[in-house]
């Protein structure tokens, strides 16, 4: 009996060790590619720092599509920020998705909008459009429609506009003035091949913001927000540079992505039946364009600033939704996993998301239960476990610190040494108890997904500083 238990413990230990090697090997590979890609990008940027966007007559028209649901607190700041973008040829399409607060009234009053008074003459595959408001002085249109969810609101904008490109931006986000010019660069270099590009999403909590512009970058007084700041640097900056570098970018954040309008229309627009429409759309684009010469690219320099949750409850809801969305997308497109036909996406990116991003936190969660249990039963090899823990924390910290290094060397948004030191500190602090909590949330999300509970929950906005 003792031998059998020992054997099980041995098998479990090796399973965890192998899984650990797989997960961290994957992360290290992506971050290594990220460093290489980033070094090349930085060199190109330094050698050719004077991009002449203003002198280029070839800027494709862009519709900035902003879905808004109960965004009364931030919507005016957001629109003001968007109206000040440095781009020669764009229009703003705000989609009020049946807000129950005064989002629409604030927009109409602040920007002196007038109703068009006529039905839209093209078919919009979305819930009923109640009215379209237009500005006589600005390239600003507000589509007021019945509530149908974010994807439905995005579809209204995507199918409404005439522009060849559209940029999807969250209403609670602030885009930097030059961001549109930079995120459009791949479309200028390869207008035929580029299907979608995305910029960096950064945490706005703790930053000073004036008239829709981030004037000072700093950390929040809230530790949870700062943990997310490091996480965003690691996952939304370094991670995506790496995935983009190997040609396996699967997510362009809904907060800031630029797409070829006809390509998105061709695949039917955003899916209204999925939880995370942004990831699902990118995977669907990969599926659709497989076998052709196309690009889905991450552009690290342009930035959109977003407000992250400062309470565990709201963050748990957000992360639960992200996790469920990832599971759903992987399930929907499971036939692409491991298939050569889909190139890097099928052979690396999707398996990576399945075994590392989806199953990883679940396995980690099992570990948090098993280790104390094995310890109590006297089956834990303590020296080995301590070594394992040390390596795990070491690699995790290394990845976070590499992301901070990327930030300090290449972008320098966080300029004060004290802030950088704090970021490094949060890179270490996130191992306990933030990681364990996230693993717990992942398990809850799995249970909710299996039960078919897909509610969004409310995201409480406090608005940007003034």
């Amino acid at each position: 009996m003792v031998v059998a238990v020992d054997s099980v413990a041995w098998i479990v230990s090796w399973f965890f060790l192998a899984y650990f090697a797989l997960v961290n090997g994957g992360y290290l590979l992506i971050h290594f590619v990220s460093l290489l890609s980033f070094e090349r990008t930085l060199r190109d940027w330094l050698l050719d720092p004077v991009y002449h966007p203003h002198s280029s007559p070839f800027l494709p028209g862009i519709a900035v599509v902003v879905p808004a649901y109960n965004e009364a607190v931030t919507i005016v700041d957001t629109v003001q920020s968007l109206l000040n973008l440095e781009y020669g040829n764009y229009e703003l399409v705000i989609v009020n998705d049946g807000s129950r607060d005064d989002t629409l009234e604030r927009l109409v009053e602040t920007f002196e909008l007038e109703p068009v008074g006529e039905p839209v003459p093209v078919d919009l595959p979305c819930e009923e459009v109640r009215e379209v408001y237009q500005s006589s002085r600005r390239d600003l249109v507000v589509i007021d429609k019945e509530n149908g969810g974010k994807a439905d609101a995005l579809n209204a904008g995507v199918f409404f506009t005439d522009q060849p490109l559209f940029c999807a931006i969250d209403a609670d986000s602030l885009i930097e003035r030059g961001a549109l010019l930079e995120v459009a660069q791949p479309f200028l270099r390869a207008p035929d091949r580029t299907v979608a590009t995305g910029g960096t999403v950064r945490v706005a909590n703790g930053c000073s913001i004036s008239r829709g512009v981030v004037t000072r970058v700093g950390l929040s007084g809230n530790a949870l927000a700062n943990l997310q700041t490091v996480e965003y640097l690691r996952a939304f900056l370094s991670g995506r540079i790496g995935l983009s570098g190997v040609g396996g970018l699967l997510i362009i954040s809904g907060a800031f992505g630029l797409f070829r309008t006809d390509a998105v229309r061709e695949v039917g627009g955003y899916s209204t039946s999925t939880i995370t429409e942004d990831m699902e759309l990118i995977v669907r684009l990969h599926r659709h364009f497989a076998g052709t010469d196309y690009r889905v690219e991450f552009v690290p320099r342009p930035v959109v600033w977003t407000e992250v949750p400062e309470s565990r409850t709201v963050l748990a809801r957000q992360r639960s939704r992200w996790f469920q969305g990832m599971l759903e997308t992987l399930w929907l497109h499971r036939d692409m996993i491991g298939r050569r036909r889909y190139g890097v996406v099928g052979l690396f990116a999707l398996p990576f998301f399945l075994f590392v991003e989806a199953v990883g936190p679940l396995v980690e969660g099992i570990g948090y239960v098993l280790v104390p249990l094995l310890f109590v039963l006297g089956l834990l090899n303590v020296p080995f476990f301590i070594l394992f823990l040390g390596v795990a924390v070491g690699i995790g910290t290394l990845l976070s610190w590499l992301a901070v290094l990327n930030e300090v060397v290449g972008f320098r948004r966080y300029r004060e040494p004290r802030t950088v030191a704090a970021l490094l500190g949060y890179g270490l602090l996130e191992h306990v108890p933030y990681r364990q909590w996230k693993a717990f949330v992942s398990w809850l999300a799995l249970v909710r997904y299996l039960r078919g509970e897909h509610g969004w929950g409310e995201m409480v906005r406090v608005g940007f500083d003034s």
């Binding site: 070839f58 028209g61 068009v116 039905p119 003459p121 237009q134 005439d162 207008p191």
Partner: protein
């Protein structure tokens, strides 16, 4: 332009589309340059609708040239099976802004089966301060009513790469 004149028709689709996009931003000043643009006219019969549309857009900047106008097969362009080509044709006709182009644009508003192409034709007419035709069907009525009601800011009528 010299290179395009001699080799343009042999280029692959991607390069050709880029060249046509660039030409759409160039205003050829004289008859000599006009001769360099004649190769574009052979592209009106290209298999690819993107090239056909690109050729129409490329010539839209040269609308001052009556001889080039005469080379454009308008009837074929506004009857093209691809709506993007028809939209490009309406953009071109909108720049001409003469009686012939107005008649074709009115034809487009009345008869184009594609909502977006019809809208492009109506916007071009409206932008040229021409009267929109009386609607003969519900889709046309919706298009005309919309164009009459919307503000004509420059970018609202823009289509394609500009």
């Amino acid at each position: 332009m010299s290179l395009a004149t001699t080799e343009g028709t042999w280029w692959n689709e991607e390069l050709l589309v880029q060249a046509l996009t660039v030409l759409a931003h160039c205003r050829a000043p004289g008859t000599e340059t006009e001769a360099h643009l004649e190769w574009i006219c052979t592209l009106f019969e290209h298999d690819s609708p993107r090239i056909r549309a690109g050729a129409l857009v490329a010539l839209s900047r040269q609308s001052w040239s009556q001889s080039l106008r005469r080379r454009v097969p308008v009837e074929r362009a506004v009857a093209d099976p691809d709506p993007n080509v028809r939209t490009a044709a309406y953009e071109l006709l909108g720049r001409w802004n003469d009686e012939t182009s107005t008649r074709w644009l009115e034809y487009g508003v009345r008869n184009d089966p594609d909502d977006r192409s019809r809208l492009a034709a109506a916007r071009r007419l409206s932008r040229s301060d021409r009267a929109l035709p009386d609607p003969s069907s519900d889709p046309v009525r919706r298009t005309v009513a919309w164009v009459r009601a919307e503000h004509r800011t420059p970018r609202r009528v823009a289509t394609g790469w500009s």
